[in-house]
Symmetry: D2
């Protein structure tokens, strides 16, 4: 790639915003030009305005950036915007950017279920990238919006993809143990979660069910398998752990399913995208893995880790555990990978 | 009840042993006469030997008891023994006591799957009490062995019983978030579980699956529905939380299922047994309950708390959360209730 | 006491407010008539408005109370108000109530360092109650304001009182490990404190130092010993643990100091006030106590627990650990005890 | 350095052993030749025998090493042994190795207080290295024993050194919040520490007090300032946090003390030893640092982080917080640095 593509981050002061900045500040294809956030932070240095920093910190020069408003004319030097805006405000702001010709890669849920907006998890449904053509025509936009999935669905679908391809899926049941960072910062009160589990995350189960079917079907045609999710918050910092039960279309041994996962490669691996984990699915043989603290940074947070693939006698299929980093693979990292896919496919 | 029945506790120095002692030390029908444990503790005061105390402490006079060996002739003044022995040694010791005429109520897993030993969770299968007649004949014992179920199965089956009775069950999938006390004391290292989940508990899934079917069938005839469990350890002190997905034989609305649970009563409630919780199943309407820290002591740890009863579109049935105290309802409390049932039914 | 005194709680929807309500809703001398909070909650049932509930819950009839504004004319049926208002607003509101003739017992820090307002921890400085006479004259108030100390200072001063009385104090150094509830609800983000300690609590060290001297001196004449505090937040739910190093005026063995603490009684014990713990200081002999989870509810949260009283070779004195429940002894419980003292002394 | 020095690790299967291996397996001066542990592990691959792995894992080839017995003739290819043996057995084994000519760098406490054995924290007391000459003569050993300090003392003394040099120290009081890994693996039961603090660590306070004086004095002549420690275990994984109160010999402003710490360099920095952190003391200006989770890996776990340097009005000096990684700077890393010092000074 000759010149780096200029990019900006919307919603830069929150947790997913900080993850975007960290991934973009030393990116081989993209150059971070500007950061934007709500009016409250406008005019401050990012250093003052940022509410959370990743463990590795952020580069000094980025911390010196002035926070701008999330308006197209304030971010004219960028061609791509990554959106970590809260879903209450993301909808119209992202449309405005797309209308002005920006490529918008968004973590917000606002547009995910719009019929012509792809939810893109590129190992799973790179072919959905083509949906933006329809989107542009219908909406008469120069730019476009591509979303990454809900964090839980991102991890789940990546683990399901090789199963769907090789054995077919009839039914999926997923029960989650989700990390605190999924609620953003400050998010969950320590008084609520210490020595406790909160067995409810607003809107999460519906998102997991609907987004999974949309991603795992063809463009504009959701998959038709059955799916049910039960979502729960546990006291871990990062890494969503999911217990998955799958009814297969075609009988298979657990070892065959594990092998299909371990050898799986998606479009990002074939295109050697910079942020693509190799392999995207790490299958571990120990009886007590994956564990959030030990496995969440696998593939720099972009891989998912699968373990305990075993027979499910209830559904006639398999059950397993899968873990992925919810704010990297399940949020910022996925949108960065989406942008890389678009760049590699010359869709920008 | 005229005189109190004399009882002893085997395995008195561990966590479940301490729970037994706490429940028995002010019991209206039973009188704690002696405590026993492994040779290592023999001759010590319980005060010195006990490794864990319940939050409420134990009575001074009990702490002064001398720890004896778990041998029938050392515990002759007892008629009933409650066993919290580790399963590695419980098998033959319990048989010896039963052979010598003691009524043995055990938390150990050693004999649970013996064909003629009931796993008794008395709201669920009080009718299995009759199995001890067969057991005595076959084994030519004066006494008998009755076990309580695995902690996870105890909580699960209590919640399933009214569903089975009113709607029938075809299939059950359960994904657990189990407390640290389930591993005993000292049990799980803090270095393993802080900021983490361990997605494996040795032998647990098999126990949950087999014991549930044995309890929910007729005596000597396990239930035939399908069941699959995935068991996980989370950083909570007490209280196993379980996400349950149920395929029903007969269609029902979630509200009907919730109502069946809320109005359920079992034999312990009908017989007004002293340790019986009223109601045995507490159904909460909040969207974020049950929670381990808030709900585990419901019914003094003997009730289970159900929440989020909702439609399951994958299985055609319902999904819900259930929580119960693993060392009370799921261990010592259940065996005490079993002994009360035997006393009330004049089976002692 | 003939009739119960009518009382109201200001700031009823937060954590300390809920503790006040819990203590007052079955009080032998006081009758809870009304609850008030900020405009945001006005007109709601307490059930809807309350942000946090104590583990024991609150009575149904109290949860049905309508939340009023914290204005004297809206709470006319009360004679005493207990204030859990945030310190940003407590100052003028409490003055208004005192001016209108209410006895105000406040947990807010706003007036604590006013010269004529007592900080009252009644085992420590019951004689400071007389300061309200000066206060009333100076301010021409019908009513008055009495504050309870900062939570850390409340625990510390109770443990220091018998040492001061029997041996004299030259110097105190205290290093704290404070519970999450000290920051209110929602307070500390779980993302900040899991697997972590935050070695800073805004304003806390100054409060501990100044309030301790004010309480441990004569009315209007602070004590003159030297004191230094270092305050830190740890991941515990309730119970402030403090490592205390004391230089004595008169040499004493650790066992003498421990004995002075264990046999200590204050005015609340002599007057047999309903909320007074007996004894106020529990001295434990184990080498690893006090522990927050095990000891915080000692004396229904009103006692402090001391352990590890040992020689301090650096200062020439003793060092020890002390623990107290920060929202009971260190907040609501202390103000309720203060009101009981005023009632018993006929100062209301 | 021409050839790498051949080294072995004793006590290789525990937590500090694993830290030793991690630091040594890619070391520029040392080459790990062998690992040894107790008889129980003998003959196993390290992979099977190791009880704990660092987050970064260990190299495959090291995991394939066969565990040997901790006997000189089984480790003949090594010249240096690093000892992470438990103190119950370390004493005589380390003497045997020293007698056979090995340079022993030990984390065990067994020999620390032997008059002729240096406790070496090389930024603090590099000059104590010379004590081994006396040791060899007295004991007629070819080799020698050098110990690293107790983890808490290692962190404390590094922070105190520049204060001692520039302002003089009269008195030190330290109150600690120590991480779980300080107790080794499995160490502290999760049931003891969740939602809790344990205000006692066996032998720790005595070690901190004695070792600090030994290190901060001249060889064979302990320092004479007064010191008192209170040691407590908190629920953090790694990183000991210490609240330190210091009475100075010569008055100084907190800013001067902070500057002395920030600009401090020791012998390891001057000699540019491979494991030496630069700077050894990181002084942070934020009001809420250092924090264990955020700061423990500073300088790859070899630096200490200081914050909140402020006036102490009680002692007439300063108080501050210091944090260091207890199993790196406070254990394995310190002994590796000690060996580097000996290599650089041609003392091997």
């Amino acid at each position: 790639m000759r010149r780096k593509l200029p990019v900006a981050v919307l919603g830069a002061t929150g947790m997913v915003g900080a993850r975007f900045i960290s991934l973009l500040s030393s990116h081989p294809w993209f150059e971070l030009k500007a950061v934007a956030a709500s009016e409250r932070s406008r005019g401050q240095r990012l250093r003052e305005a940022v509410r959370w920093l990743p463990p590795e910190g952020l580069p000094e020069e980025v911390l010196e950036l002035e926070v701008r408003s999330p308006k197209p004319r304030e971010l004219e030097e960028a061609e791509i915007v990554f959106s970590a805006l809260p879903s209450e405000v993301a909808g119209s702001i992202e449309e405005e950017f797309a209308g002005e010709g920006f490529a918008v890669f968004s973590n917000a849920s606002s547009h995910r279920m719009d019929e012509d907006v792809p939810i893109l998890n590129p190992e799973v449904n790179a072919d959905h990238a083509s949906m933006v053509e329809v989107q542009r025509k219908r909406r008469k936009w120069e730019g476009f919006i591509v979303t990454n999935p809900n964090c839980t669905a991102a991890v789940l679908t990546l683990s399901l993809k090789p199963i769907q391809e090789e054995f077919g899926i009839r039914r999926v049941i997923v029960s989650t143990m989700q990390a605190l960072s999924g609620a953003g910062y400050p998010g969950v009160s320590s008084l609520d979660i210490l020595d406790n589990v909160i067995p409810y995350i607003r809107g999460e189960e519906e998102k997991v069910e609907r987004e999974t079917l949309k991603m795992m079907g063809a463009p504009f045609k959701p998959a038709s398998f059955k799916i049910s999710a039960s979502c729960h918050r546990v006291p871990t910092l990062d890494g969503h752990l999911e217990a998955v039960f799958v009814e297969l279309e075609r009988q298979a041994k657990p070892s065959e399913v594990a092998e299909a996962m371990a050898s799986f490669e998606g479009e990002p691996q074939r295109l050697k995208l910079p942020t693509a984990p190799k392999p995207p699915i790490v299958v571990r043989g120990e009886e007590d893995r994956p564990q959030p603290r030990l496995d969440r940074m696998e593939g720099r947070g972009m891989a998912v880790v699968v373990g305990r693939v075993r027979e499910d006698r209830s559904l006639g299929g398999v059950k397993y555990l899968v873990l992925g980093h919810n704010t990297i693979r399940g949020a910022a990292g996925c949108s960065v990978l989406n942008a890389e896919l678009f760049a590699a496919l010359k869709l920008l």
